[in-house]
């Protein structure tokens, strides 16, 4: 004991105070401040994403249209590499020493203890020769990756293509997509994206301070398994699709063929087309740019995006509506002097030919403009010459039931609705009450403001073939291994025409092929019912149009063919349609009485003059644009720049760790 005894309390007090400060600080960083826990998680948890293989797409007979082909990347982890025969290795990969050194330096710079790609996208055959010997080179490994591949290079516009996601895609997906992911951009790849892509698997990996994996987080409790993309069975028939693309080579236009009893689209040709394989792999950007510059626009999906005046192919529909409305009977006849006088307008028949006395069937067979103009005027004027507004609205509604002027709801993006003018449209031009049946009489023969897509034309033929109803046309027949069929595709859509009215019209259409305008396209042994069309348009020569279904009884195929700027329907569209129909029904094409042959049509070049076509080119539809292409390449550059940043950061941390001074 001495006189400074009480100082023990001072010292103890100082000690206790300091300890309380330490505890308060600990309380703050451990309990109040949450940010450290968040930092800790971002330190050690690294989500590793496993992208499943995209679903393959088959044709209706199970033949592959798109599949995933494995490509092999050779990766290297520098710190695992043991001394090896470099010359031998270079020979194996087919690179020279300088290239080897370049890549090696790059890999070392990227990260000494992490793997990076050494050789990219080796095909299976090249890889096979390397595979066996790769194990001799410790530190070099192979990794597999899947790319889309199109064995028959067919149906590009149907299949579409995939591309890296854009910022907009990422925003709209609510965070599903990450930079560098692939997404369907057009075609079926786009419309069935969620089915095809499958479910991404996320594995949460633990990593140490140098980014080396240290096993699964929480034993994989929070990991999600990847689910492979589902298989799609399309309704296309590869055989006639290939034939169609061959026939449409060097022509603009499209072919749409539908199975009337199901609504399944058998043939979906858009010409000009392109090899879908061009949109895959390293040259994708360049190829896409070239295709985009093509003035005939291979990216335009003509079956659903091009709009043509139906021309005379519209006449059967015109007749059906008149029959249903009770305006005419099959026996109603008309004397054709070679033209039709509507008010002060004179509608000439084709080539000014005078058909004489025609009834419904023969008017269809001979494509008498006069007869249908007469019928149309009768419909319009049934409530008096000044009441056209109401009667036109009725007529428009009836046409609409066939799917004209509306979207048919095809399972593809970018469908156009065509055009059926509204009464308001004419009011705006001629002012209200200022237009009469004679003003709009050209609608009777599928001209005027009437515009339809080839799909709509084919759908009308389905309806006629079915005698009064159609199934929603679709391109994907079944989804997944269980072949799920959407319910909407099994429902009949009635167009409001009694089935009895079809008989005379079909008879007329049969006559078109038997001894009418399309006689040259008659198929031996098959009764085909069709209608030619010569669609006058402001883009130059008339479009050659042909619509048909076959056989007459119990039809198996309905078809619409448009060959742009090629004149009469009978000359180009009808023969092409007949080949498709015959190939589909018989499996082969027989020699024709008329002497027409596939080769002639396949080799013919009907491309319009570039300068002229450019001037009147159809409007570009949304899809690929130069802006998008640019964005694509920009995102790639950004991605590689991002990698670079990552590189330096991890290097930096590694360097710091090494130092760890004191």
């Amino acid at each position: 004991m001495n006189s400074f005894f009480e100082r023990r309390y001072v010292i103890a007090g100082i000690f206790i105070t300091i300890i309380i400060v330490l505890l308060a600080r600990l309380f703050y960083i451990q309990i109040i401040d949450d940010k450290y826990a968040i930092y800790a998680n971002s330190n050690v948890r690294r989500p590793v994403i496993h992208n499943p293989a995209r679903g393959p797409i088959l044709d209706r007979n199970g033949k592959v249209l798109v599949e995933n082909v494995p490509y092999y990347d050779i990766t290297v982890t520098p710190n695992l590499v043991k001394p090896f025969d470099t010359v031998d290795f270079c020979k194996l990969l087919g690179i020279d020493r300088a290239e080897f050194n370049k890549r090696w330096t790059k890999a070392v710079k990227y990260n000494f203890s992490q793997s990076s790609i050494f050789e990219k996208q080796l095909s299976a055959t090249t890889y096979a020769s390397i595979q066996e010997r790769l194990s001799e080179f410790t530190g070099f490994l192979s990794s597999t990756r899947y790319l889309r591949s199109y064995p028959d290079s067919v149906a590009a516009q149907f299949l579409g293509y995939i591309g890296e996601v854009t910022d907009r895609d990422m925003k709209r997906s609510n965070g599903y997509y990450h930079p560098g992911d692939f997404i369907g951009v057009t075609g079926v790849e786009k419309s069935y994206e969620p089915v095809l892509r499958g479910q991404r698997g996320v594995e949460i990996q633990m990593v140490d301070s140098r980014g080396r994996p240290k096993g699964k987080y929480a034993n994989g409790l929070y990991d999600t398994a990847q689910v492979a993309g589902q298989r799609l069975t399309s309704s296309l028939d590869l055989n006639i699709q290939l034939l169609g693309e061959k026939l449409m080579k060097n022509k603009l236009g499209s072919i749409v063929a539908i199975e009337p009893s199901t609504g399944e689209i058998l043939c979906y040709v858009s010409s000009p087309t392109y090899d879908p394989n061009l949109m895959v792999g390293r040259e994708r950007g360049n190829n896409a740019a070239k295709l985009y510059q093509n003035v005939y626009d291979p990216f335009l999906v003509r079956p659903i995006q091009a709009r043509y005046p139906p021309g005379s192919s519209f006449k059967p529909l015109s007749a059906l509506i008149a029959l249903q409305e009770g305006i005419i009977t099959p026996q109603t006849s008309y004397y054709c002097p070679g033209y039709y006088q509507a008010g002060n307008r004179r509608i000439p028949c084709n080539n000014g030919e005078a058909h004489g006395l025609v009834n419904l069937s023969s008017a269809v067979a001979k494509s008498c403009n006069g007869y249908f103009s007469m019928v149309f005027q009768k419909i319009m004027d049934r409530e008096g010459g000044k009441q056209t507004e109401n009667t036109f609205a009725d007529w428009r509604a009836n046409v609409g039931k066939f799917g004209l002027g509306t979207k048919l709801g095809l399972d593809m993006p970018g469908e156009s609705r065509g055009n059926v003018p509204t009464p308001l449209y004419y009011d705006n031009i001629y002012k209200r009450g200022g237009w009469r049946s004679s003003t709009i009489v050209s609608l009777a023969i599928g001209q005027g403001e009437l515009l339809a897509t080839p799909l709509q034309l084919a759908n009308i033929e389905c309806t006629i073939a079915n005698r009064g109803f159609y199934y929603k046309p679709h391109l994907i027949k079944a989804i997944g291994a269980q072949n799920i069929i959407k319910k909407e595709y099994t429902e009949r859509n009635y167009v409001g025409i009694d089935s009895s009215y079809f008989k005379p019209v079909i008879a007329g259409m049969q006559a078109v092929v038997e001894d009418g305008t399309a006689i040259r396209s008659k198929i031996p042994g098959i009764i085909m019912c069709g209608k030619t069309g010569t669609a006058q348009n402001p883009h130059g020569e008339a479009h050659s149009v042909f619509v048909a279904f076959a056989p007459r009884d119990n039809p198996k195929i309905a078809i619409a063919v448009v060959v742009e700027n090629s004149g009469e329907g009978a000359h180009w569209a009808a023969p092409i349609a007949s080949f498709i129909v015959e190939k589909y029904l018989k499996g082969s094409i027989s020699t024709r009485e008329s002497g027409i042959a596939v080769d002639y049509f396949a080799n013919a070049n009907r491309l319009p003059d570039t300068t002229f076509y450019l001037h009147h080119a159809p409007k570009k539809v949304r899809g690929i644009t130069p802006k998008k292409l640019k964005a694509d390449s920009v995102s790639k550059i950004q991605k590689s720049a991002g990698n670079k940043n990552k590189k330096t950061t991890s290097q930096f941390i590694a360097a710091i760790n090494k130092k760890n001074d004191e």
Partner: protein, 420 residues
Amino acid sequence: MNNQRSFFFNVDWVIVFIYLALCTIGWFNIHAAVFDERHPGMLSLDTNYGKQFLYIVIGILVGIVILLLETRFITALVPAFYGITLLLLILVLVHGRNVGGNQAWISIGGGFRLQPSEFAKFTACLLLARYLSGPNIKVTEPRSFAIAGAIIGFPMLLIMLQPDVGSTLVFLSLIFVLYREGLSPYFLIIGALFIALFVTAILYNPLYVILVITAIAALIMYLFKRNKRLVVTMLTGLAICVVFVLSVKFIYNKVLQPHQKVRIDIILGIKSDLRGKGYNLNQSKIAIGSGKLWGKGYLKGTQTKYSFVPEQSTDFIFCTVGEEWGFAGSVVVIGLYLFLVLRIIMIAERQRSPFTRIYGYGAASVIFFHVMINIGMTIGLVPVIGIPLPLVSYGGSSLISFTILIFVLLKLDSNRMGIV
């Protein structure tokens, strides 16, 4: 009285218990910090935790031996112990192994190394106690104070030459011993004042700091203007403070090493360099902060296990405690230390012999200073200074020197009824 029986009854078993508890906590946390699936055994000598176990065993044996020694043996050899450590400190400067920039280790074969500075703390305490407990020695006398200062200063100087800033600073904690023995409290106040001035002068414009302290001094002088002596003292003190504040920038920029400067900058929040110089501290805070209330559980800590935290089994061992055992575990560990230190003070005060009392205060101060700096550094209260957490950090020299420090006190205490 039966000698043997009374001896064991006289040992302070509370401290022995705390000692064993802290050693065990240390051993488990070192295991967690460097846990490696390839060496799951806790006793393998290839690993830090295996070695630490060995050190603990040696430590306990050393403790038992100390308890069995004659008290006189210890007290008589005090100057010799001090001399030997001084020699070792000189030897280490000549023949030492340089690890991480500090020439602090002497190889003693078998892959083991000795760190003399760890033992210097113990021997300095002993010699200080021996000197101050001598007859007619008063710290208040300048001569005694100078000699006491020299006893502390010699080993400090030698350690500073290594240079090991952390261990050097530990000796400053002995100011508490001098205070207890009668040193003027102004030394403590002035010390605290200078630290405060140093920090504020770095953080703020020195001119403002001078203005503020001048204003405070003026106020005090105005209130006590009758007291002439106080006014004179205040004016002198003010002048010294102003000079000090003005020289802070110079000390800071020219005297301190660049890495020390950066560490001070980071702790004061002047600089934030999370990937570079601030990486260690930031990762340390992340590890501790992510422990939350109950921690992540034994061997479940990710920040320490995956080597985000540097020096995780030695200086930053507290990160493992904070991460795996959370705030609860941290309170237990810090509580044990506080209890240990207060218990040592209690023991010191119950001595009849001033030697033991002074030595006890020395031990308490050294242990407390280590705890304060080490834990303070891991949570960002103190600049990063590399000194171990007593009994918990990995390291044989440190563990055994603290064992000796504590068990010598226990031995002296057990003999408190006898005559020294």
